[in-house]
């Protein structure tokens, strides 16, 4: 077999990442005050805000305590999605015979997969390097920021005066409260991708989106995974059928699933790390080589001295902001995970855009007006936007759901990707889209069409008139729209139509 590599980029990705995102030889600029906007935190929200403001001619300072890119590039979206891709390859390889190939000899190489993760991170970091930000006119400061008063921030010895400030410091992983776990040590996504290889057996504690994503991906890369979740179904924000399909997929991949189960203690034995689990009154222990946890997140506000600037915040729910992203200090705004709520990169981005507009141009944009989709990148992906059925019913809104199974979609069949469904919820008797859930291999991409329709108030029936290229999986959305159109054909209309046809026949 030809073992030649086609990746000619031999740069050490760890070095490149550091050079791009946290250069050792960086000299903070002399503060040029006052700034139109001081941004604290160079994660997705902070970067978006700083770049937009700079493009608009504002004098902008950006302060970062760690590395540029925040959790997204360094520990979150980017590395997790990269490892998911590797896992997906091996899952496909295991089904190769069904596609007419023999890939029996292909075995996972966790070390190579982790190396690829870092290369992907390095590749993406090239678009947000410290030098690049500087060239865009942003004064970039590395160091810990703390408010000095209502109108200035200190970074090291420097004081930055501002007309407006944006706090976008993100979140931190919530430490697990399992007795003994801190003593025996555990992995989080902050540390996992810095490993050179993966352990043989691993317990993932927490069946939220990240827990499920990592459990599946690591299992597919050959790690024996035990997934422990303290509720009866995964993904508490998703509907039952989506969680049900995910449970089946995880089991098919070989994940050992324990629902309704709580980890109650941890200790080290000669065999490894022993975690005691409790379910319905029964207790049992499972030994693994490593534990991955800390999947819950809390806003990162420690050390900012928010009180000095008159900014109200809560350790659990984060900085208090109004719908315009303004804090209790009228000059200071906040965006992203530090405000709690939906902790997604795309929400952070959207909130940052609103904050900049409202901060610098007296805008009155509201976050609550935004349609916020999200996606869990398991296989199949689980994507959601708008109201769930139970939320609509609780609000007294009569709804109807148009469901299309992916096994009714030609392209899903040709691609052997039939697991999942499209569910689009509309107000009963109408076609205004209230929400949607898509479970499919590419659900995240498919959902965007529905989000667009909701954002622009395009009714579901109108999507029936949009020609979708054939065959595509997103045509399942049009199939749902067709069903909505067909519902207009009431028995009375059908009778009238039948009479018309009869008349035509008589007329010859």
């Amino acid at each position: 077999m030809n073992k030649a590599t086609f990746d000619h980029d031999s740069t050490d990705p760890r070095l490149e990442l550091r050079r791009n995102l946290r250069p050792d030889d960086w000299n903070n600029p002399a503060p040029a005050g006052p700034y139109n906007l001081v941004v604290i935190g160079a994660g997705p929200a902070g970067l978006t805000a700083a770049r937009i403001a700079a493009r608009l001619g504002a004098r902008v300072a950006l302060i970062e305590a760690g590395a540029i890119g925040g959790d997204c590039t360094n520990i979150g979206c980017v590395p997790t999605k990269a490892i998911i891709r590797s896992g997906k390859l091996y899952a496909d390889a295991r089904r190769a015979r069904h596609f007419g190939a023999d890939a029996a000899g292909e075995t996972p190489d966790p070390a190579l997969a982790l190396q690829r993760v870092r290369k992907v991170q390095a590749r993406i970091s090239r678009s947000e390097t410290a030098e690049l930000l500087k060239s865009e006119g942003i004064d970039l400061f590395f160091g810990k920021a703390r408010f000095a008063d209502h109108r200035s921030v200190r970074v090291g010895d420097a004081t930055l005066r501002f007309l407006r400030a944006l706090v976008a410091t993100g979140g931190v992983l919530r430490p697990p409260a399992i007795p003994g776990l801190a003593e025996i040590g555990f992995e989080t996504v902050e540390t996992l991708f810095d490993r050179d290889t993966l352990p043989r057996r691993m317990m993932v504690i927490g069946g939220g989106p990240l827990g499920c994503e990592m459990a599946q991906a690591l299992c597919r890369l050959g790690v024996g995974i035990v997934l422990v979740h303290d509720a009866p179904k995964f993904l508490p924000e998703e509907e039952r059928d989506a969680a049900q399909l995910l449970s089946e997929s995880l089991a098919r991949d070989g994940v050992q699933v324990h629902l309704n189960t709580t980890a109650v203690s941890a200790r080290t034995t000669s065999e490894g790390k022993e975690i005691t689990l409790s379910t319905g009154g029964d207790r049992f222990a499972i030994t693994v080589d490593e534990v991955l946890t800390g999947v819950g997140r809390v806003p990162r506000i420690a050390g900012l001295d928010l009180a000095a600037a008159g900014i109200a915040a809560d350790p659990e729910t984060g900085i208090e902001v109004d719908d315009f992203m303004r804090t209790t200090n009228r000059r200071v705004f906040a965006a992203g995970d530090v405000c709690g709520g939906h902790m997604f990169t795309h929400v952070a981005n959207a909130a940052a855009r609103i904050a900049v507009r409202n901060a610098l141009f007296f805008g009155r944009q509201r976050l609550s007006r935004q349609i916020i989709p999200w996606c869990t990148f398991t296989d199949p992906e689980i994507a959601h936007v708008g109201l769930r059925a139970d939320q609509a019913i609780s609000q007294g809104i009569p709804i109807k759901t148009y469901t299309v199974l992916m096994h009714e979609n030609d392209r899903a069949i040709t691609d052997g990707e039939e697991t999942g469904f499209v569910k689009i919820r509309v107000r009963q008797g109408g076609d205004r889209i209230l929400g949607a859930t898509v479970v499919a291999r590419h659900a995240g991409d498919m959902l965007n069409e529905i989000t667009l329709a909701m954002e622009r108030r395009i009714g579901l029936r109108a999507l029936s008139g949009v020609i979708h290229a054939y065959p595509t999986q997103s045509a399942a959305i049009r199939t749902a729209a067709d069903a909505c159109v067909a519902d207009r054909l009431t028995p009375r209309l059908r009778r009238l139509s039948g009479m018309w046809m009869s008349l035509l026949r008589r007329g010859g």
Partner: protein, 454 residues
Amino acid sequence: MTWPSRRRTASPYDAGRATKGHPVTLGDLDDDALLDALQRAAFDWMLENANPDNGLVADNSDDGAPASIAVVGFALTCWPVGVARGWMDRNRALALTLATLRFFTHAEQGGDETGTGHRGFFYHFLDMERGRRVWNCELSLIDTALLLAGCEAASCYFDADTPDEAEVRALARALIASVEWPWALDRGDTLSQGWHPETGFIRYDWEGYSEALILYVLALGSDTHPVPPDSYRAWRVTYQWEKIYGHDTLYAGPLFIHLFSHIWLDFRTIGDGFNREKGITYFTNTRRAVQIQSDYARLNPRGFAGYDANCWGLTACDGPGGAMNTADDTGRQFLEYTARGAPFGPDDGTLAGWAPAAAMPFAPTTAMAALRTMLHRYPGMLRDDRFLGSFNPSLPGEGPEGWISPRIYGLDQGLLVLMIENHRSGMIWDLMRASQVCNTGLRRAGFKGGWLDE
């Protein structure tokens, strides 16, 4: 499987069936005779597996299997059918019913770990002799409701002015009145799924369309400890009204969900607020659920053996998980006893052969076509004319059925007796119209119309 070859007494439908020299198979019978044979065999199983001393009925055919209180509820409803069909003497039915009601009336109700019940509810599984909790099982709300529905059926049937029949009515009334339904709300809006003496309430509730419709009707209808009507509305919040395969349907995947409450409650002409809003009865909804099973099996997205429009039955049933252990070469996992469903799954190729027969009242044409097809193809899914729990033709086995469940389940047999009876005569539906608690519960849930307004 040949006919006649079983331990059973002659049925009026046996006449003229045996042909000289040729054993008659079930498939040779006409529709009525076929249903009669299946119903009779299922009834006999219930009778053979009832403990005459306390009325408890085994959960399944395994040696030493405990009783399931739900099966007891089915059995209490079966005895009147047996009497009406001439398969059982009324006095024997009465004695068995009295033994059952007396046992539950005097059972240990302290909530002990080895007791029988608590606050009027009962543990799901009880040992057949002493009637004490086994397997650390839960104090089960739905199974208590199925038991009480049986008590209520007995109460409606034994209406004669005799001391024994009066005792049946008094004991049934007392058992139903003693259930402290609001306690099981656990300070929430919906009823909990159960309670363990060791750990308290199970953390999830009865929410969304399921077999718990009968549970809410009984809990609402109690004249001593009713739950508020709001709990029924809260239960409905997670209803899924969807258009699936072109059918407007209140979705629930496993077929048994669309059957259990319908054993006792005739939903053909009555409707609650949801029904009126959507223009559908729960009865019609079950018919659509049957069609979705058929449609799903015809599409057969997961490529399992045997599936087609006339071969379906995804429901709660036994499975090969333990026996076959792991996945096949496609990575498909095989499950143990679990609630399988269409079209979202879980689906591991395991079908309940009894499902079409149980669906007869709702979609007789579709169900009979499936019943006949499956009987023809998979005769081994029955033992002594009784459906085994399930089978999986995608897996290796001795015959075309592939893997076959080694046991017969009381729930399946009871369901068959009662659903076939409802199809044949509507007897249970008619009987239960006299139920005070069901009438009250249905009205408090917002049901109107049809026989309820008469």
